[in-house]
C-alpha cells in the first residue's frame, strides 16, 4: 500500500515555462515533506523541504506548496531550465528517522 504517490512517471516542459510536480500522501501524521533531485549515475540530492506548519516554502526558482487538507504537495520550478532535467522524488516523514519516498517523476526540460 503506497503511502506516497507520484502519479506522473514523466513530465516534459518547454524551457522557460513552469514545471509542476505533484505528490500525494495518505497518512495525516506525516509532518515533514521534502523533494530530492536525482541525475543519472548520481545519488539523490536534497532540493527543498516544508514542515506541516507552513503551506509554502520558496528557494529561488523552486517553490513547494503543501495542502494538508488534501494531503497533497507540489513542487513548482519557474522558469524551467534544461539543467533541471532529472528524476524528482517526493519524500515524507513524521519525526522518526525514516523517510518514505515516492516512485519519482522524470522531468525533461526541452530547450
Amino acid at each position: 500500500d503506497q503511502q506516497v504517490k507520484q502519479n506522473s512517471p514523466s513530465l516534459s516542459v518547454q524551457e522557460g515555462r513552469i514545471s509542476i510536480l505533484n505528490c500525494d500522501y495518505t497518512n495525516s501524521m506525516f509532518d515533514y515533506f521534502l523533494w530530492y533531485k536525482k541525475y543519472p549515475a548520481e545519488g539523490p540530492t536534497f532540493l527543498i523541504s516544508i514542515s506541516s506548519i507552513k503551506d509554502k516554502n520558496e528557494d529561488g526558482r523552486f517553490t513547494v506548496f503543501l495542502n494538508k487538507s488534501a494531503k497533497h504537495l507540489s513542487l513548482h520550478i519557474v522558469p524551467s531550465q534544461p539543467g533541471d532535467s532529472a528524476v524528482y522524488f517526493c519524500a515524507v516523514g513524521a519525526g522518526s528517522y525514516q523517510l518514505t519516498f515516492g516512485k519519482g517523476t522524470k522531468l525533461s526540460v526541452i530547450p
Partner: protein, 114 residues
C-alpha cells in the same frame, strides 16, 4: 562538503554468493542508511543505523543484514545473493536524527546478480 562514498559503482555477482557493499562518510554523521532503487518503485529503505553497532530494519530488510563497527562506515551484506536483489543500492548519511535532517547520498552501486 559532505562526502559519501560507496566502494563500487558496478558489481556483478553470482546467485548464492555473499556480497558486501561498503559505504563511508567523512562528516562525522550519526545516522546512516541503505536504500535500493528499482524502476517504478522509487527508493525503499532496507536498514538504517543511528549509532555505532546499532541498526534498525527499514521497509524491506529480508535477505539483507548490516554492520556498523565504526561511525563512518556502514556495510550492507547480502548473505546469499539472489537475482531479485539485482538493483541500484544507495547509501546515505545524516548528521542527527529526525526527518528534517538532510540525508546526503552516495553515487550508488549497481549490483547485478546472475
Amino acid at each position: 562538503d559532505v562526502k559519501v562514498t560507496q566502494s563500487s559503482r558496478y558489481l556483478v555477482k553470482r546467485t548464492g554468493e555473499k556480497v558486501f557493499l561498503e559505504c563511508v562518510q567523512d562528516m562525522d554523521h550519526e545516522n546512516m542508511f541503505w536504500y535500493r532503487q528499482d524502476p517504478g518503485l522509487g527508493l525503499r529503505l532496507i536498514y538504517f543505523s543511528y549509532d555505532v553497532k546499532m541498526k534498525e530494519k527499514g521497509d524491506i530488510p529480508e535477505g539483507y543484514s548490516v554492520s556498523r563497527e565504526k561511525k563512518e562506515r556502514f556495510s550492507l551484506i547480502l548473505e546469499s545473493a539472489s537475482t531479485n536483489q539485482t538493483s541500484m543500492y544507495l547509501c546515505a548519511s545524516s548528521k542527527q536524527g529526525g526527518v528534517a535532517d538532510t540525508q546526503y547520498f552516495g553515487p550508488g552501486t549497481r549490483l547485478t546478480v546472475l
